[in-house]
């Protein structure tokens, strides 16, 4: 049961979350400026993008030739795909946080919460893996 002061794992989670979100947001702003001002070429020119975003996912993927999964990581030379880096990083922050608190739970002998945190991280990693995708 949590006392008046936040627990060690809660503070550790908060610190890593704080750091992660700051790095992610800075990355988001920098890469969006690069994309918006066309400092790098775009895979889909911004003036054509709107016509693609009206399509459903299936047609969008077919017409743009974009592949699902981690394909974008091979396309970072394009400004639009570069923005995926901080977006993906922000999604990973939660996984880092859950992995961070596992040793703290183990140190306290709290095996149930160590297991639940590991399970949560594995579920998120499965979602991130690219094995689960829909629409094409």
């Amino acid at each position: 049961m949590a006392g008046l002061k936040p627990t060690e794992e809660q503070l550790a989670y908060a610190s890593l979350l704080d750091l992660g979100r700051k790095i992610g947001f800075i990355g988001l702003v920098i890469t969006f400026i690069i994309y918006l001002f066309q400092l790098l070429p775009s895979y889909i020119p911004p003036n054509e993008l709107l016509s693609y975003l009206k399509l459903n996912l299936h047609d969008y993927l077919e017409k743009t030739g974009i592949q699902q999964g981690w394909f974008w990581i091979t396309m970072l030379r394009y400004g639009d795909f570069l923005t995926f880096l901080p977006i993906c990083f922000l999604a990973f922050v939660t996984i880092f946080c859950f992995l961070r608190i596992i040793p703290i739970f183990l140190k306290k002998g709290d095996k149930v919460y160590a297991f639940l945190s590991l399970l949560q991280a594995l579920i998120l990693l499965l979602a991130a893996s690219g094995f689960l995708k829909v629409g094409h």
Partner: protein, 314 residues
């Protein structure tokens, strides 16, 4: 809300889904826009900035308003709007999370078991949502949003619910805690009950959140507060933290290709800045007026999604 009313709402939703499948067709989005390309991220930023303010003042997460309004009134396919909705909910949770955890208001012991089932539900929901025909998704979204509006209209809140004792699961997991309530100047001891039912409900909340790209504060808070007996402040804070678990569904949208930076990034920045301003004007705002406005927006956007799904208002 009585069991009969819930059954009636469910039956009505089912009938509407069948109608949408039979007559709806794929929702059409106007193909011509006279605006230059850069106008859309700018409009989206301005809109989400206002939305961020309204969301804070109205006590709702931005996601529940974001998806039906942007999906209904902007020239983007719902696939991309739902992906963006999940990322706006995620970043909102990441922004508020550290402060709530450090102050001991969001409770990790309470959140972790719930987050496991919510994340599995959200993955399932995202996969269903991306696989279903768009008119059916629009219809279901409309029904869900109108249902949320009714829940918000009728649900009561309890500052300090009475819990006679923890249930066996809560006891085994050691869920509970103490926090200082400044308005009373005393320590509040809390624990939870009905954990098994809550776990089932959180799985369902995860499915709905993943399917429609909605943040789930509207459902998290009543379940935590009214069902499990978590004090309101801890329930609201833990609910915000739980939104970071929408990450699981956000990954499905990302890996499926349903993420566009031109929609996601202006939305994230707009909602975040709007929330900062919203917090500042919270003290002088009239909560009743804001609440009516939020309910009105939910009604309008829910109706729009429903009619779009049924092929009546494209």
């Amino acid at each position: 809300m009585g069991r009969r009313q819930i059954l009636a709402m469910f039956a009505m939703g089912l009938i509407l889904c069948i109608i949408s499948l039979a007559f709806g067709g794929e929702a059409q989005i106007p193909t011509n826009s006279s605006l230059p390309w850069w106008a859309w991220p700018l409009i989206l930023f301005g809109f989400t900035f206002v939305l961020g303010i309204v969301a804070v003042l109205g006590g709702v997460g931005g996601g529940v308003l974001y998806v039906p309004i942007v999906g209904g009134f902007f020239p983007f396919n719902l696939d991309f709007v739902r992906g963006a909705g999940l990322f706006t909910a995620l970043t909102g949770a990441l922004s508020a999370g550290p402060g709530l955890l450090r102050r001991g208001l969001a409770d990790l012991r309470l959140a972790i078991p719930l987050s496991v089932v919510t994340s599995v539900g959200a993955i399932v929901g995202a996969m269903i949502g991306l696989a279903l025909p768009k008119n059916l998704v629009n219809t279901l979204l409309g029904v869900t949003i109108l249902g949320i509006m009714i829940i918000m209209l009728r649900a009561k809140k309890s500052e300090f619910p009475e819990v006679k004792g923890p249930d066996p699961i809560a006891k085994a997991l050691g869920i509970g805690g103490i926090y200082v309530e400044p308005s009373l100047g005393k320590e509040i001891h809390w624990t939870v009950h009905r954990t098994p039912i809550a776990l089932v409900l959180f799985a369902i909340i995860g499915i709905l959140g993943g399917m429609f790209g909605l943040g789930a504060g509207w459902a998290n808070v009543p379940v935590l507060n009214l069902l499990m007996g978590v004090p309101l402040k801890v329930a609201v804070s833990t609910s915000v933290f739980l939104l970071s678990i929408t990450t699981s569904a956000a990954f499905i949208y990302l890996n499926s290709g349903a993420i566009s930076p031109m929609i996601v990034i202006p939305s994230i920045i707009g909602i975040m800045l709007g929330a900062v301003v919203g917090v500042k004007i919270l003290e002088v705002a009239r909560p009743k007026v804001i609440r009516i406005m939020v309910l009105g927006l939910l009604f309008l956007s829910g109706l729009r999604a429903l009619l779009k799904g049924l092929g009546i208002w494209n």
